[in-house]
């Protein structure tokens, strides 16, 4: 019981971190969409996509019961794949993200370096938490 409570507490912290990232990504994507979407459609579409995934992940982790649990798993796995794939792509093929000679970044570029690598750390912590909280 004590352990379960503790897990719940750490979960709260994780959810708040997700909330912050969701807010940061949504703010960024909203600004890019409103101000300059046509300049670089691919990176900005990725920003919007990542923002949506973070919102879904935050809500699903906050509920994290029944069906929401599966949604949380899916969102966290999509997130991890996204940050790994786009992170790797930004290193291997920077040309894909270059518009008018300028490298345009997304939340997931370089494994989330602009966000202190939080985007790559959070889904891993999320998966660990989802696994652990089920055991109780």
């Amino acid at each position: 019981m004590a352990n379960q409570k503790r897990n719940l507490g750490i979960g709260r912290l994780l959810i708040s971190a997700y909330g912050v990232l969701a807010l940061a990504a949504t703010g960024r994507a909203g600004y890019e969409l409103a101000a300059k979407f046509n300049e670089a459609p691919l990176p900005y579409s990725l920003s919007i996509f990542s923002a949506l995934v973070y919102i879904v992940a935050t809500v699903a982790l906050a509920r994290s019961k029944g069906g929401w649990r599966k949604v949380a798993y899916a969102a966290v796995i999509i997130e991890l794949s996204g940050v790994l794939l786009i992170g790797a792509a930004s290193v291997i093929w920077p040309g894909v993200f270059t518009y008018n000679g300028k490298l345009v970044k997304t939340v997931w570029s370089f494994f989330g370096i602009a966000y202190g690598f939080v985007p790559v750390a959070l889904p891993i912590l999320g998966l660990i938490w989802l696994r652990k909280s089920k055991q109780n």
Binding site: G9, I10, R12, L13, S16, A17, G19, V20, L23, A24, T26, G27, G30, Y31, A34, A35
Partner: protein, 119 residues
Amino acid sequence: MLETLFQVEAWGALLIGLVLLGFGAAKRKPSLVSLGATAFVQMGLVTQLICSIILVSGGARAKGDTIEFFAYILVAFIVPIGAAFWALIERTRWSTLVLGVGALTVAIMFARMHQIWFG
């Protein structure tokens, strides 16, 4: 002047964030002290918003994108308020940590706003 204001707000939010994380680690529940510290961070944002509106309506512009600058302030506005609501609803030490995470987030956003404004 504006530089000093930024420094006070950003370092203040960073310090408050670290102290709140310390409070959380010491298992303290949210109190008037931790909520007051969060209110101080919020006051920094209010001051910044008012100053920026005055400056921009006076013709000043950010070195970066002025719209992006205001987007940052407005999004940052939600963070301490959200964390404080959380702390009022759930009075456990975890909420104190959430307050700390919120203050640190605002500190990072101040640093980014400084970057956008001064280039």
